[in-house]
């Protein structure tokens, strides 16, 4: 018996048995599967798969068996949902059992490292959460106003994709990108200025630090007052948000070369410009790239939030506030998903560029 080394499987099997004996739905009779024969059949498949693993120990096809267990369990749950009753204890136990099977599958995969595994495991994990979310929401019949089901969000996403996409592009290219470029450039430029003239740096840095303590989204109303309702105010907020991480990271990066390296430059009688381009900037690249990545995420999020202020006319923030007022929460969440997707794509793009350009720098993370 394999129960001791892999308790999850034994537990899952026991849980399914339990789920068969306890009420599936609130108020239904004990373990009455006749109302949902398809679900019953699938659960039987799941149970058989688990019992195989319990009695025969880890076999070569363990992952396949586990996959069968997970898929059949999830399908069973799905068909139970079709009956549209509120889940009872039995129903929840069945969900727990399926999740345990999924966890065991993930554990098996994680023990076999590889590039596919690195992408597959988090993806499956994410899928598991989404499944839980879906079943929990529909099984407990939570009001869609409070928490929408992933299926609803997906439908809204697919149905309104063109609008969402154009909103995303608006936010990205009209507000976020411009603000990002301005903020990063100013932060970078100021850092170099502070490095060239340390006196100025020592004088003004404390004010910069104090200013960075102000939550930038609070500046949004002021930016609207100064720049109007258009993209300028949003870009201004993004500029302010991205300015400080860039300033701080670039300053830290320019200071990384240690005494010996700087002495070397001195011995070559290098001018400031030469030292900057040949020593300081290359050393600063890892930290600058970190700031660029961080700022990309901040830029998108603060652009969206900035779009709440003044009367927004376009973009993802606009979409959220409008649909919120209309109580179309599915669409609101779909916009959030779009925002996350775009943010991930941008972050991924910068990471890719980083890998391509700094692969030879041993200090790069």
């Amino acid at each position: 018996m394999n129960v001791h080394r892999q308790p999850a499987i034994g537990l899952a099997a026991a849980t399914i048995l339990g789920s068969c004996l306890l009420p599936i739905w609130d108020g239904s009779e004990v373990g009455f599967w006749i109302d949902a024969p398809l679900a019953a059949a699938l659960t039987a498949v799941q149970l058989i798969a688990l019992l195989i693993l319990v009695f025969f120990g880890p076999v070569r096809v363990t992952p396949a068996v586990l996959l069968v267990a997970v898929v059949s369990g999830s399908a069973a749950q799905y068909f139970l949902l079709e009956a549209e009753f509120v889940f009872g204890v039995g129903g929840w136990l069945a969900l727990v059992a399926t999740m345990l099977c999924l966890w065991r599958l993930l554990a098996w995969l994680s023990a076999h490292p590889g590039r596919t595994v690195q992408i597959l495991v988090p993806a499956l994990f994410f899928f598991g959460w989404v499944l839980c979310w879906e079943i929990a929401v529909r099984g407990a019949q939570i009001s869609p106003v409070l928490l929408p089901a992933p299926s609803g969000v997906l439908n809204a996403f697919v149905a309104h994709f063109p609008i969402l996409w154009s909103d995303a592009l608006q936010t990205l290219f009209r507000s976020a990108l411009r603000g990002y470029a301005m903020g990063c450039t100013c932060g970078f430029g100021l850092a170099i200025l502070f490095d060239r003239f340390p006196v100025i740096g020592r004088a003004f840095m404390p004010y910069c630090t104090a200013l960075s303590a102000v939550p930038m989204v609070g500046l949004a109303p002021i930016m609207v007052m100064w720049f109007g309702f258009g993209w300028e105010s949003k870009a201004a907020v993004v500029c302010m948000v991205t300015f400080f991480p860039m300033l701080i990271n670039t300053s830290a990066g320019l200071a990384t070369p240690d005494g010996i390296q700087r002495d070397l430059m001195r011995s070559y009688n290098a001018s400031y410009g030469t030292e900057l381009f040949m020593l300081k900037l290359p050393s600063a690249v890892p930290l600058i790239v970190t700031a660029l990545k961080l700022n990309s995420t901040l830029a998108i999020i603060s652009a969206i939030v900035a779009e709440f202020f003044g009367t927004p006319v376009f973009g993802m923030g606009f979409r959220i506030s409008v649909e919120l007022a209309r109580m179309n929460l599915d669409l609101v969440w779909a916009t959030i998903v779009m925002g996350a997707l775009v943010g991930t794509l941008v972050y991924g793009g910068i990471s890719l560029a980083e890998r391509v350009t700094t692969s030879r720098n041993p200090t790069a993370q």
Binding site: R202, A213, P215, G218, M225, I300, V332, I336
Partner: protein
């Protein structure tokens, strides 16, 4: 060292003076058009100096002067009792409370998650990419909505605000602690192997103390993020308490000075929170670590 300190203070003072001068000039320039509009229909054109003076004291300035902001802060801090909704202290305390609660909750979750990730390979492979990706989700955007919704359900505004703030706060601590718990060098680990130490002993006697400097670094970022989260989640469409609400109402009613005062208060509590973390850090990290 002392000499450097003195010169630094002098430099900072000079810089501050320069900023003040630029500020006043800017205030003059930006507020002037407004004043011109007000006095456009005057029979007798007022001398420039009195116009200028008025530009520095308008009721609804485009750019309030430093003394206007300072006066507003002074009045709202000392002019009202702490429980009054007009008191800046009242709103600041509420925001601070939310920020602290959210930061603590997020930090605790981050600590537990980091410990689990470091000890469980499955969790590490499956959860880490999701943790990193979670930061691209603009939860901040639905913060006001969540507060309203929870309010409709009867849950007080505090709980959803803290939940949203903690969502923002857990990430820096998680990342810092994962790095910190793994920061132990090989020889130290082998030292513990020669003592046949258990995993538990290794965790509490070696990994956890080694990770403390990282924890505090993450905690500082978390604290700053917490204030932002608290403020944004206080901006539901329809009033409320806290600095976020104050910012919003200031923008609705055109009370620019109120907005600026609220911003200064936000910066103050941000700095306060980070200062507290730094103080705790000094207390816990012994002289020996020298970090």
């Amino acid at each position: 060292m002392l000499e450097q300190r003195k010169t630094d203070l002098a430099l900072i003072g000079v810089a501050g003076l320069a900023i003040l001068i630029v500020w006043y000039v800017a205030a003059l320039a930006l507020n002037f058009p407004q004043v011109m509009v007000i006095h456009a229909r005057d029979d007798v054109p007022l001398p420039f100096t009195s116009l200028a003076l008025e530009a520095l004291r308008p009721a609804r300035p485009v750019l309030p002067t430093v003394d206007q902001i300072a006066t507003e802060i002074f009045n709202t801090t000392f002019g009202h009792s702490v429980t009054s909704p007009r008191s800046l202290v009242h709103h600041s305390a509420i925001t601070l409370g939310t920020a602290v609660a959210g930061t603590l909750l997020g930090a605790t979750f981050g600590l537990v998650l980091a410990t689990a990730i470091v000890h469980n390979r499955t969790l590490e492979v499956s959860a880490m990419p999701l943790v990193i990706a979670s930061q691209t989700v603009p939860i901040l955007a639905i913060a006001p909505m969540a507060v309203v919704l929870f309010g409709n359900l009867g849950l007080s505004g505090f709980v959803p605000k803290v939940l949203i703030t903690s969502y923002l706060c857990f990430f820096p601590v998680t990342i810092a602690m994962v790095k910190g718990l793994r920061s132990v060098d090989r020889q130290m680990s082998e030292l513990f192997e020669t003592y046949a130490a258990t995993d538990r002993e290794r965790f509490f006697l070696l990994k956890l103390p080694a990770s403390l400097p990282f924890l505090f670094t993450g905690l500082k970022i978390s604290a700053a993020t917490g204030v932002v989260g608290a403020i944004v989640s206080e901006m539901p469409t329809g009033g409320g308490v806290g600095l976020g609400a104050r910012l919003l109402s200031g923008s609705y009613y055109g009370q620019t000075v109120q907005i600026w005062a609220a911003l200064v208060a936000s910066a103050a509590i941000s700095i306060l929170l980070i200062w507290i973390v730094t103080k705790i850090e000094r207390r816990f990290l012994v002289a020996g670590l020298g970090r």
